[in-house]
Assembly symmetry: C2
Amino acid sequence: MRVPNIPILKLYNCLLVSIQVELDDQTALKFQEDLLNKIYETGSNGVVIDLTSVDIIDSFIAKVLGDVISMSKLMGAKVVLTGIQPAVAVTLIELGISLDEIETALDLEKGLETLQRELGE
Amino acid sequence: MRVPNIPILKLYNCLLVSIQVELDDQTALKFQEDLLNKIYETGSNGVVIDLTSVDIIDSFIAKVLGDVISMSKLMGAKVVLTGIQPAVAVTLIELGISLDEIETALDLEKGLETLQRELGE
């Protein structure tokens, strides 16, 4: 089976990702790898991951998402999550996933603005 | 077979698309439909289609691409193509696809800037 590719767009010093496929385990892991490679290749220091189209999330995907944020941070890129739907928010909290240190914003525009502001540009 | 979904991102009044899957006929037609629907839903008046990852194009895909640009224009949205690779440029010209009226730009950033300028914002 071919694992779907989640496109990563580079805009200025940021990467934009809009997750619009169903996130199964393989897809999520491939996305993690692709995103880290892209941060390295492009030297981006900010990432916006838009979850507007994600209406459900399980514990594995939530963990991968938390991991990718920590890993990006280690590599020097700040991640902002945007468009978290109510059901996804509920699941994340109920699973006890700590999102304390994770920046969120309402939508892609606001996510980019948050990043630009925090990166001081 | 499931037809891959090409994510369409909304940023301000523009839509951003980065084509990072192999464009077979079905995928291209689905993309055409999705993009037109998204223009209608969001009321966007600009679209940037980034072809950086597309390294080959055939006559059918070239036609669909030309069509989607004309259709978007009819709906009131201006399209800018970015990141056209040499081989793709050669194919488009050799196929006699008229891109006279099509705006192009080097990359996503420049494409967005072109749009913002032309839309007077």
